[in-house]
Each structure stands twice: as structure tokens, then as C-alpha cells.
């Protein structure tokens, strides 16, 4: 990846991270740790991979994104707003009564949200159906399913993952945001999901590993997964840091993942993010 391209993606990721901090700060709730870990992945996906038309969100031939770890919807909302699916001012109504941006995604309300969610463990199954539908219509759409590592504890994930390789032609690429944390602590201490590579391989998926915060690595991982897509489903295991970019969240000092942000924390997070990247952002105050 060229330096200028990487710089551009880093700048977009910074804007998205700041918007996540602002929206969860204004809402005083929302899962910030799980959202911040996903940012670089979503930025790469939405700016470099997806065939979409933000001005025509229901374009039939579009690629689909199923956010299975839907508690990270602040990240998705901030990406969709910055990608032009709706006005950024919607972000400040996140979780409010009547808002377009619900606490967990409600597809009928939000342009750019392709699938229902809220109850985890359902992404691969929905992706299977979307892939079948595009096959019936002879479309070349690809389906991207974003999973969390904690939600792989749900049995329904594996029910669906077992089916995907047998669904014939179609392109499903799953990505696991391996931030290592779930609601009550480290995934490995609560219900160990490892060895994950071997699990997916034994389910006949191609496994690609990547650093989920390194755009060069993500570029290689997506390229490999897409190259293999005709042969069957691929999954990118993306190592990430929970709360990436905000020290309190990275260190797990926010406590319970949905603990409310406050003005002080929000300002601290925005300052940290600006200084870490040399202030490439717009410097907008909120």
C-alpha cells in the first residue's frame, strides 16, 4: 500500500474513532470497546473493498455486510455516516427515542444496514441466505459477515458455518474481530473458543490471519480471501485491541463494556486520538 493511501485510511479511521467517542459520549451508553477494535477493519472494507452506492443504498447488485456482532454498531454507524449513507448529525441522536440509529441496528430504519441484528450468533446464517439469493438472481454480489470472537460461543454460528461450504457458488467472507474480550472479561477465561483456525478449517473454511489495525495486513488478507472466494468461504481472523485508540478502554479501565462515557472521558479520548496521530483530524469540538 502506498504511503498516501495508508495515510488517507488512517485519517478516515481517526474521524470514525472520534465520532464513536462523541456518539457514545452524547448517548452516555453504547459498546465503545468493541466498536473501537473494529474501526480499521470497517474503514478498509467500506473504502477499499465494498461495491456499494451510498446514494442508492438498496442497489440490488451491491455487496452485503452482515454485522453479526451488532453491539459494535456505533462503529458501523460512524462508518456509514462518513461514507455518505446519511447525514453525520444523525450520530448525535444515537439511542434516543425515535432516532434512526438504534441501540442495536434495525435495518428498516437505517440506510446502509443490510441485515437485522441485536441477538448475536446469527450473521453467518443470514449471509448464507443472502448468498443463495444473489445466486438465484445471477448477481456477483459478495457477502461480508463481521463476527466477534465472544459470539463464536453461540452454537448457531457453527450450525451455519457447517453449511456454508456446501452452498455452491457464491462469495462469503467472514471476519472475526478477535479483540479477546467479551462482556464479563477475557474470552479465553470465560469460554475458550480456541483453536479457532483449526475449528474453521475443519468446517472447510479457508482461514486467513491478519493484524486488524494494520492496513497493509488487511489489504493482503482481503485480497487473499477474495481470491479464494470462488473455491469456498473464507474467514479472516483479525487480531485487534479492544478499545483501540483510547487508553482507558484499551486497558479495560472503563469497567463494564457498556459503562457510560462522560464529558471528561470523552474529552480525554478525543485528545489522545488527536495527539497519537499528530492531529490529522478536523479538530471539530463537540
Amino acid at each position: 500500500m502506498k504511503t498516501a493511501e495508508r495515510r488517507e485510511l488512517e485519517g478516515l479511521a481517526l474521524e470514525v474513532r472520534k465520532d464513536i467517542v462523541r456518539m457514545t459520549g452524547v448517548a452516555r451508553s453504547g459498546n465503545i470497546g468493541s466498536s473501537l477494535s473494529l474501526v480499521d477493519i470497517l474503514v478498509y472494507l467500506y473504502w477499499k473493498v465494498l461495491r456499494i452506492r451510498p446514494e442508492e443504498p438498496h442497489w440490488p447488485a451491491r455487496d452485503r455486510v452482515v454485522l453479526s456482532k451488532s453491539h459494535a454498531c456505533p462503529a458501523l454507524y460512524a462508518v456509514l455516516a462518513n461514507r455518505g449513507f446519511f447525514d453525520r448529525s444523525e450520530l448525535w441522536n444515537f439511542r434516543r427515542l425515535g432516532a434512526m440509529l438504534q441501540g442495536h441496528p434495525e435495518m428498516v430504519r437505517t440506510p446502509g444496514v443490510d441485515a437485522p441484528g441485536g441477538s448475536v450468533g446469527m450473521g453467518i446464517g443470514i449471509a448464507n441466505g443472502l448468498m443463495l439469493a444473489s445466486g438465484f438472481d445471477g448477481l456477483d454480489s459478495r457477502v461480508f459477515c463481521i463476527l466477534g470472537d465472544g459470539e463464536l460461543q453461540e452454537g448457531s454460528i457453527w450450525e451455519s458455518a457447517m453449511k456454508t461450504p456446501d452452498l455452491g457458488s457464491g462469495k462469503i467472507i467472514a471476519l472475526v474481530d478477535m479483540n479477546g474480550m467479551q462482556m464479563n472479561g477475557p474470552v479465553k477465561d470465560i469460554r475458550n473458543i480456541e483453536p479457532l483456525r483449526e475449528k474453521f478449517e475443519s468446517f472447510r473454511w479457508t482461514v486467513v490471519e491478519a493484524d486488524g489495525h494494520d492496513f497493509d495486513d488487511l489489504e493482503g488478507a482481503f485480497a487473499l480471501a477474495l481470491k479464494r472466494a470462488d473455491e469456498g468461504p473464507s474467514v479472516i481472523l483479525a487480531r485487534t485491541v479492544p478499545g483501540k485508540g483510547f487508553s482507558l478502554a484499551e486497558k479495560g479501565l472503563l469497567g463494564y463494556p457498556s459503562s457510560p462515557m462522560n464529558r471528561e472521558r470523552m474529552e480525554q479520548a478525543l485528545r489522545e486520538m488527536e495527539s497519537a496521530t499528530g492531529g490529522t483530524g478536523k479538530g471539530e469540538d463537540l
Binding site: 443463495l132 439469493a133 453449511k163
Partner: protein, 312 residues
């Protein structure tokens, strides 16, 4: 005599001929006689999802999101319970169009025993906003239910039985839709609302009641949600009392729906013939019907009670 499952199969073939977007998904139900004709008529449009109801519903949701009309078939006992979260999250909340056909419902699972006899499915499905619930009484009504469901927005739960049932729906040309009832017999002494296998019992009960001087009006309430409220209320205004008969637990079914309607709009005595909040056991469906008190005799008895308390 055919089962409502067989009737559904016929309606499904008809609908699939007209609608190229209709896709059948089932959870390893090849042994059910309706699958083979579908597969041979529409190769490539039937998907055996294996024994995985949750994945089947999620796949159906994906298909619906991609512009297809999924029709899902499984045992009602497993479809409505194992995949309830998926049904709620992936289909009901977004209001996606789909038919959920739950077969071997009620006592028709017979000898399979309690685990397979599903008498709580109506309660589960009708509690979901956006979900409609249809319970056909005979094969013809069941066949028609497929097109009624496709003409209705959102997901529809279609409750099917595997046991052969007598024909009750005589007026083939009636203008029905999801939300209407079939008036099978007119009367002004008592309103009998029934669904599924209890419609036939209700007609038998009405015959006996007429000999006792009570003129019973029988409504086939095949559409439990939306309920044919105006039709039921109009009948209650004439009769002043009601019996509801259903092959379902007393809690959460048609009986409660009608009682609740009556309580808020026109309070009259409403008595229910249903399964009295208990589980079943192995036995032939007809034996079970006798054992659990789901016959015309109970309808006659309850009708006499309700009639004695009628309010007009």
C-alpha cells in the same frame, strides 16, 4: 380426507408455479410426502437445511433480504421453539415476508409423544408483533392458506397437522383473506369459534345443540392473528355467549384471543375447550383427542354452560 399438511403441499405447488421467487427450505423433511412433488416440479428451489432449524430461519431471512420469498417447513415443535430467537430477530422484527409452516402440530404427532406434540406454538407465534398466525381446518383451507399468506405482509406462521381430517370448508368461493373467518353455520343462540381439527367437532356439536333447541353459529377462525374481530363481535351481539374450541394449550391460543376481544368490546361469557395447561403423551391422535377432552361432547357441555349465562 387429507391432512392439512397435504393441502399445504398442493397450495405450495400452485404458488410456486406463479411465483418464481418462492424457495422452499426444510429441516430434513424429505420423508414428508409434499417434498418430492415440489423438488421434481421446481428443481433447485428446495433446500434441505438438515437438522438445523436455527440456521434454516437465518438462511430464510437472508433469502428474504435478497428479494426471495422463503417458505420454511419443519416440525412445529422444533421450528417454533428451537429457532424462536431467530424467528423474532431475523423475520418478525424486520417484518420480512416468509411462510413458517409448522407441521405435526397439536396432537397429530400422536405416538411420538409429548416432546413432539406441540400445543404452545400458537401462543409463541401470536405474541410476536408483525407475525400472523393461520390454523387451517382442512386440506382445502390449508391449500388456500399459502396464497393468503403470500398476499399478506410480513411473516406468517401456518399451523399444519399430519393426521387426515374431514372436509369442513364447504364454500370454496368465499372471499377470505388473512384476518377473516369462515361462517360455516348461522345461528343466534351461541357463537362457537373454532380452528384446526376443532372446526369439525364444532359443526358436530352445533348439530346436537340444535336438537336441544340452541341454535349455534359456527365460525372457522382459521386466522388467529389477525383475528376476524368484527365478525366475531357481530356474532356475539346476536348470541350473547361464546365457546372457543382449539387443539392448543388453554394459555395463549384462540380462546384467550377471543376472550380478550370480548372482555374489552362486548363482555359476554366465553368458555374454552382446549388443553388444560398440561403436556400430552403417546397415543393415536383420535385417542388423545378423547383423552384430553377435545371433542364435540366438551363443546356441547361448555355451550350449555355459556348459554345459561348468556348476556344480550
Amino acid at each position: 380426507m387429507k391432512s392439512t399438511l397435504e393441502g399445504f403441499g398442493e397450495g405450495l405447488l400452485e404458488a410456486a408455479r406463479e411465483r418464481k421467487d418462492l424457495i422452499l427450505l426444510h429441516a430434513d423433511m424429505d420423508a414428508v410426502p409434499i417434498i418430492d412433488p415440489f423438488v421434481s416440479n421446481f428443481p433447485g428451489r428446495a433446500i434441505n437445511c438438515g437438522v438445523s432449524e436455527q440456521d434454516m430461519i437465518m438462511t430464510a431471512a437472508g433469502l428474504a433480504l435478497g428479494g426471495k420469498t422463503p417458505v420454511v417447513l419443519s416440525w412445529s415443535a422444533f421450528l417454533t421453539t428451537r429457532a424462536f430467537d431467530q424467528i423474532r430477530t431475523c423475520l418478525a422484527i424486520p417484518g420480512l415476508q416468509a411462510i413458517l409452516a409448522g407441521t405435526h402440530a397439536g396432537l397429530s404427532a400422536g405416538e411420538e409423544g409429548v416432546s413432539h406434540q406441540m400445543n404452545q406454538d400458537i401462543a409463541l407465534m401470536r405474541s410476536l408483533p408483525n407475525m400472523s398466525v393461520l390454523v387451517p381446518a382442512d386440506a382445502a383451507s390449508s391449500s388456500e392458506s399459502v396464497s393468503l399468506s403470500l398476499d399478506h405482509p410480513g411473516p406468517v406462521y401456518l399451523r399444519l397437522g399430519a393426521d387426515r381430517v374431514p372436509d369442513t370448508c364447504t364454500d370454496r368461493n368465499a372471499d377470505v383473506r388473512a384476518g377473516s373467518g369462515r361462517l360455516l353455520r348461522e345461528g343466534d343462540g351461541i357463537t362457537i369459534c373454532a380452528c384446526g381439527i376443532m372446526v369439525h367437532e364444532a359443526l358436530k356439536a352445533a348439530e346436537i345443540l340444535s336438537q336441544q333447541g340452541i341454535s349455534a353459529e359456527v365460525i372457522d377462525c382459521f386466522s388467529i392473528k389477525p383475528l376476524p374481530s368484527q365478525q366475531i363481535l357481530a356474532s356475539l351481539r346476536r348470541t350473547g355467549c361464546c365457546v372457543v374450541a382449539e387443539e392448543h394449550n388453554l394459555i395463549g391460543g384462540l380462546g384467550e384471543a377471543v376472550a380478550s376481544l370480548s372482555a374489552s368490546e362486548n363482555p359476554v361469557p366465553v368458555r374454552c375447550v382446549a388443553i388444560s395447561d398440561r403436556y400430552g403423551q403417546s397415543g393415536a391422535p383420535r385417542e388423545l383427542q378423547e383423552y384430553y377432552g377435545l371433542t364435540f361432547r366438551e363443546i356441547v357441555g361448555e355451550s350449555a354452560q355459556a348459554w345459561s349465562m348468556r348476556r344480550r
